[in-house]
């Protein structure tokens, strides 16, 4: 039987009735139309469905929606600043050609956000290690790593 779940999505209090087996990814997509959260493997292996749950990057395909009760979810749609401007990571992914087909991109950006929140000045190796749970089939990762490093510098005030 469907259960009532209240959660904060991208700063707005929301309510939804979800079957107990529905994943958070499924609910974000099908019930809230937040298609930026991608489902690619549905087994937690690729990171395309990554969202921030209470600020930490999680795989929303592995979390039941009912378990998100009362928690804060940020999806790619909620990453832009209050002024509507792009997050430095979004800007860097554009400028450094870190986007190809784009299907891994939201998960990559949110994983990078979580990584930089914990470690604002990572080395390239730390970025690669920290993001190795996110698969991309198009880019070979070089430009994604470059973009994360550039965003990190920009967020620390070192413009480049």
């Amino acid at each position: 039987m469907k259960q009532r779940v209240t959660l904060n999505i991208n700063g707005t209090e929301e309510e939804v009735y979800a079957e107990p087996w529905w994943s958070l990814a499924q609910v974000l997509r099908e019930e809230f139309g937040l298609g930026g959260t991608k489902i690619a493997c549905n087994t937690g292996d690729c990171g395309a469905c990554t969202v921030l749950l209470d600020g930490k990057a999680v795989r929303s395909c592995l979390i039941l929606a009912v378990k998100a009760q009362g928690r804060k979810v940020v999806t790619i749609e909620g990453l832009r600043g209050k002024d509507g401007g792009l997050h430095p990571l979004q800007q860097a992914f554009m400028e450094h050609f870190a986007v190809q087909c784009g299907y891994c991109t939201p998960g990559m950006i949110l994983t990078a956000k979580s990584l930089l929140d914990e470690n604002p000045a990572p080395t390239e190796e730390e970025v690669r290690e920290g993001m190795s749970g996110n698969l991309c089939r198009c880019t070979g990762y070089a430009k994604i790593v470059e973009a994360v490093m550039a965003a990190s510098a920009r967020m620390r005030g070192e413009h480049r």
Binding site: T37, K38, A40, V99, V127, S132, Y141, K143, V145
Partner: protein, 786 residues
């Protein structure tokens, strides 16, 4: 070409903003939570080969919410296929692989569809099956997949061949040049080996997805994650259902990666939508993507080369046995086009026999490189083997045999836009060929370099059309029918239009992905979009400029040929300081001008005249391909001889792109190709147990992750620009060439590190350890494994 202002610039991708904000729409994102949408699920065969005795759908139909349960009885009786009509979209009598489609359920919820699927009872009589292509190819193979093959319609391609050696062989493609027996007699050295490649999966991140919507007027609107809105969507649905193109509207959104994949969720969505009259969405699970997508065609390759002492290649004989799986699909074309790669060297005597064989494995198809990476796996290792035996430098051996600009290649084509020599030099220099490795070898970790040279042709027999609309606000709409599969084609095409029209690229809007709204194109295949669609768009831009000048002629009091349209202005050729804005042509009240809100439309089409399919007996022809993109890869690897693990330390590529319309996008393709190349070389293989895929998920299938690639300082991608006279601004396709040489380059490096020559893909730790063990056993013998 020095005054180019947009071509050659790193214009930021037009789709980047949508993609970084999560607003880009993909087929899987269509109809999210849409009320009234039915969900389709497919029942797959659990057997590799079986006769269907009966199917009981009575319980499945009773599940609440189920709208349709369809089986082989509900599909057209005629078989269909890409090259051979050998398949029913739902099995009618027999299933031929684990994953053959048996039934489709459409229901109001996914849960109901899944419940109904589980209640379908199919009785099978399990039949003996064959999985090995060499076994299946034998004339006396007891298992025959398609006993009716001789009566099947074999479409489109005359090069399927007629002298088929066994009942499971659907294709025999031949190339003949000179006389190989005579060539081998002249040779001072003959090298002969057997190689094999693995079945690998595209693993594009977007799962196969499709939404089919029947319109009240009888038209089916079908969107899908498959590339090629005309050929891959519209034409295919028409072929499967016997519908005219006017009744099928193909739609594509952004596509979440492709690499040649064709999983065809749209066929099942279309079937359920036609039978129910309701919109139906089908999304494959990742597991389904693995066995339903047409994986990279595995080949067994017997290669025999003859060379003179000085390194001159005199003869090459190559026999390929291709495990096509249960249905031919597009494999006859993959097999035929896989032969083009060999034309990069001057080989006077050449013989190629490639066989397409049915087995009870999941069907194969196109994969980045379209049949070329597999022969290169063998051919580019042979070049190193030959060089070592002749004590020649392998770079020099390749340079010596490379075909030259203007020279006739072994297929009879005149070579043009030949940047291979420069590619080789660039990678050899960067990797430091002949110089010490970046780190020394230890007792257990051996470090060495290796390289390979390969190419990828672009198909010649396709057509592209484009429309260009010059709007009164100075913006330009470009309409074309190729797809955005991630390669960045929309950006490149906008740059071509901007350059031709002399307007800023920000003023170009590119419209694509709907067969009802954009002109015909063959699609995002064969690395063709930049060249074919780029040329069509250029022609359309030239057409609209002619129209602008003709319209302005009476207003400006000059003959059209004395005017020039550029950058939104119309200039007098004799006095470029005098001009009129194009937007003035739209001003109301000017009787001689355009009526208000009228349009300035230009059209263009590009195709090759006088190309040929090649002689079916010899494969010879004067124009078989549009262009060749050459790529050299050089790597440095560290091989742990205790664990068998190979780490790629440094990687360099050089790709001849003709001209880089957007260098960063070319570089991005090169980097992606390297990652797939490393994956195919070291990790990737669909593991099959009697036809069943064992590792059909991203956990067990070894796609490279960030940590498996060299760091950014140890990675370099060069672009070489051997301008192509027929390409837009000299450009040619390059997306597929990006991975063709990776696996042999890594194999050559592993050999140089360990003395072990691996001939089967992937070069997994298990294989490498086994080979090292065998090498140790032979330690008494002086020679290596060859």
């Amino acid at each position: 070409m020095s005054e180019l202002s947009v071509v050659g610039k790193n214009v930021i991708r037009l789709d980047a903003l949508e993609k970084v904000t999560g607003t880009a729409l993909y087929a899987a994102d269509e109809a999210l939570g849409e009320p009234g949408m039915l969900h389709g699920k497919v029942l797959w065969s659990p057997h590799a080969h079986a006769r269907i005795i009966s199917i009981d759908i009575s319980r499945a139909k009773k599940v609440p919410g189920v709208e349709a349960v369809l089986t082989g009885k509900d599909v057209p009786e005629a078989r269909v296929g890409s090259c051979v009509d050998d398949q029913h979209m739902l099995a009618r009598e027999k299933v031929r692989f684990v994953g053959d489609a048996v039934a489709v359920v459409a229901a109001r919820t996914l849960e109901a569809a899944e419940e109904a699927l589980a209640l379908i009872k199919v009785k099978y009589e399990v039949l003996p099956a064959v999985f090995d292509a060499e076994e299946a190819m034998r004339p006396d193979c007891p298992v025959v997949l398609h006993p009716g093959l001789s009566g099947y319609k074999r479409n489109m391609y005359p090069y399927l061949g007629n002298d088929l050696p066994g009942p499971n062989v659907h294709t025999h493609h031949k190339v003949r040049r000179g006389n190989v027996e005579e060539g081998f007699r002249q040779a001072d050295l003959i090298v002969e080996n057997r190689f094999s490649t693995a079945r690998i999966s595209h693993c594009q991140l977007e799962p196969a997805s499709s939404v089919a919507r029947p319109n009240v007027d009888g038209t089916l609107v079908i969107s899908t994650s498959t590339k090629s809105v005309y050929t891959g969507v519209q034409a295919e649905v028409c072929r499967f259902f016997g519908l005219p193109p006017s009744k099928v509207r193909g739609v594509t959104h952004y596509i979440g990666g492709n690499f040649g994949s064709a999983p065809r969720a749209h066929i099942f969505a279309a079937l359920a939508a036609i039978r129910t009259g309701r919109p139906v969405k089908v999304v494959f699970s990742r597991e389904e993507c693995f066995f339903r997508d047409l994986n990279r065609l595995p080949m067994v390759i017997y290669l025999k080369d003859g060379v003179k002492k000085d390194g001159t290649l005199v003869a090459r004989q190559i026999k390929l046995i291709c495990n096509c799986g249960a249905y031919a699909q597009i494999t006859p074309l993959v097999i035929r086009n896989g032969s083009f790669g060999s034309s990069q060297y001057r080989i006077p005597n050449f013989r190629w026999d490639a066989y397409g064989v049915y087995t009870n494995e999941p069907p194969s198809g196109a994969f980045r490189g379209f049949g070329n990476a597999q022969p290169f796996w063998a051919m580019e290792q042979h070049m190193d083997i030959i060089a070592e035996k002749l004590r020649m430098d392998p770079v020099e051996l390749r340079q010596k045999n490379l075909i030259a600009e203007g020279e006739e290649n072994l297929r009879g084509e005149k070579t043009h836009s030949m940047g291979a020599a420069e590619c080789l030099d660039k990678v050899a220099q960067w990797i430091g060929w002949g110089r010490p490795t970046s780190q020394p070898s230890s007792n257990t970790v051996k470090v060495a370099k290796g390289f390979a040279l390969a190419n990828k042709y672009t198909q010649v027999d396709t057509i592209a059309s484009a429309l260009v609309r010059f709007n009164k606000d100075g913006f330009v709409d470009v309409f074309h029918g190729s797809d955005e599969i991630g390669q960045g084609s929309q950006t490149v095409l906008a740059q071509i239009a901007a350059e031709e029209l002399g307007v800023p690229v920000e003023k170009i809007k590119v419209i694509w992905g709907d067969s009802a709204r954009v002109p015909y194109d063959h699609g995002a295949i064969s690395s063709r979009t930049t060249m074919f669609v780029g040329n069509a768009i250029r022609a359309a831009c030239q057409d609209v400029k002619r129209l602008i000048c003709a319209t302005a002629s009476p207003v400006m009091g000059a003959a059209p040929e004395d005017l020039e349209a550029r950058g939104g202005q119309i200039y007098f050729r004799s006095n470029p300081s005098k001009s009129m804005p194009v937007s003035d042509l739209f001003l109301p009240g000017r009787a001689t001008c355009l009526p208000h809100d009228a349009e300035l439309l230009g059209q263009g089409t590009f195709f090759y005249k006088g190309y040929s399919d090649g002689d079916p007996e010899t494969g010879q022809g004067t124009r078989l391909t549009a262009s060749y993109c050459y790529t050299a890869h050089a790597v440095e690897v560290a091989v742990d001889t205790e664990t068998g693990e190979v780490k790629v330390l440094r990687f360099c590529s050089a790709t001849d792109v003709g001209r880089a319309i957007n260098p960063k996008l070319c570089e991005a393709q090169s980097e992606g190709g390297i990652a797939q190349g490393i994956g195919s070389a070291l990790y990737e293989e669909m593991l099959l147990d009697r036809g069943r895929v064992l590792n059909c998920n991203f956990h067990d299938y070894g796609m490279p992750r960030m940590t498996e690639l060299p760091g950014n300082h140890d990675l370099k991608c060069f672009l070489v620009e051997a301008n192509h006279r027929e390409g837009p601004f000299g450009a040619k396709g390059m997306g597929e060439g990006a991975m063709t040489p990776s696996a042999p380059a890594i194999a050559n490096a592993i050999y140089n590190a360990t003395g072990v020559r691996l001939m089967d893909l992937p070069m997994s730790p298990e294989r490498l350890l086994r080979a090292l063990k065998a090498q140790n056993k032979e330690a008494g013998h002086k020679s290596g494994p060859l």
